[in-house]
């Protein structure tokens, strides 16, 4: 039966066309992101009363990483939106900023700025549920982290 086969081809092609259209529409959307500055330590309590433990979801993600700290405290959390092909600068602390560029299709480029200087750039695809953690050593055998993910 050739006609049904042709119909299947037509439907498949239409599905592809509409799928691509949908993907393009999604790609053109702005990215709603959440960046969290996290302090990692082995102390159960942070000396800074403003610090609070990170949320359970972030803690679970951090605990899967090969890090030496047992406790993670949220220093600052920022929600922001980056338009398609746009850039957004976010202050995470007095000396730390991030500049996030929306590359489209869920891709981001994060420029980490420390003490006014660009420390480096990271390009990463960041779909919902994906977490990008950038970190390094801090004073007194502690660690700092920037946790970037799509906002809920």
């Amino acid at each position: 039966m050739r006609l049904p086969t042709f119909r299947i081809r037509v439907l498949s092609a239409l599905a592809l066309v509409f799928g691509c259209g949908l993907a393009a529409a999604v790609a053109a959307e702005e990215l709603k992101l959440e960046a969290t500055l996290v302090w990692g330590t082995n102390e159960a309590q942070s000396p800074d009363p403003k610090h609070k433990p990170v949320c359970a979801e972030v803690e679970k993600k951090l605990n899967t990483l090969p890090l030496r700290w047992q406790h993670y405290f949220e220093v600052k959390r920022q929600k922001f939106a980056v338009p398609d092909a746009g850039t957004q600068k976010v202050n995470m602390s007095k000396d730390c900023q991030i500049v996030v560029k929306n590359l489209g299709k869920g891709g981001v480029e994060m420029n980490v700025i420390g003490k006014g200087e660009s420390v480096g750039r990271i390009k990463q695809r960041l779909p919902k549920g994906e977490v990008l953690v950038t970190g390094g050593n801090a004073a007194n055998f502690t660690g700092w982290f920037i946790v970037l993910q799509q906002a809920e």
Partner: protein, 169 residues
Amino acid sequence: MTDEMKFELLAYADGELSASARRNVEARLATDVGARALLAELQMTRQTLGSNEPAQPLPESREFYWSKIEREINRLESAGERRAPSPILQWWRRLILPAAGLAVLALTLSVNVLPGVGRGGSGVEASFPGAEALTYRDQAQGVTLVWLSYPGEDEARDYEAAPPDGDWL
């Protein structure tokens, strides 16, 4: 009675003999009892076969019967043939196939050609001047860690108690 005489009797019963041969056979039958008996048996057999042949009467005329068969053959042949597509279908076919190819190409490019960004969260591209960056990925949890370390920072912290450059907290 010879076989030739038997064949002549058979031909006589079927009415196939000429007038002179028929007269000879009739003269023989008048004097030969065996010939008359064989002729009677042949005629009876011929009559029996002719009257008991099963008849196959057609419920309709011969022409109508065969025209029905012809129409059925034509119908089956036309059903088996490929139906000619309508102009709209032909137009769609010309349009859809190239469009499908372009769609596949666009989808492939959109997934794979985004610079520096891989599929499914992998493919981190990091550039950290003056620092060493280690990348760790937990695919199951969807977590990517980019760890920055500066040359000598551990030694500096351990022996000089000086905060590393990454200390922005």
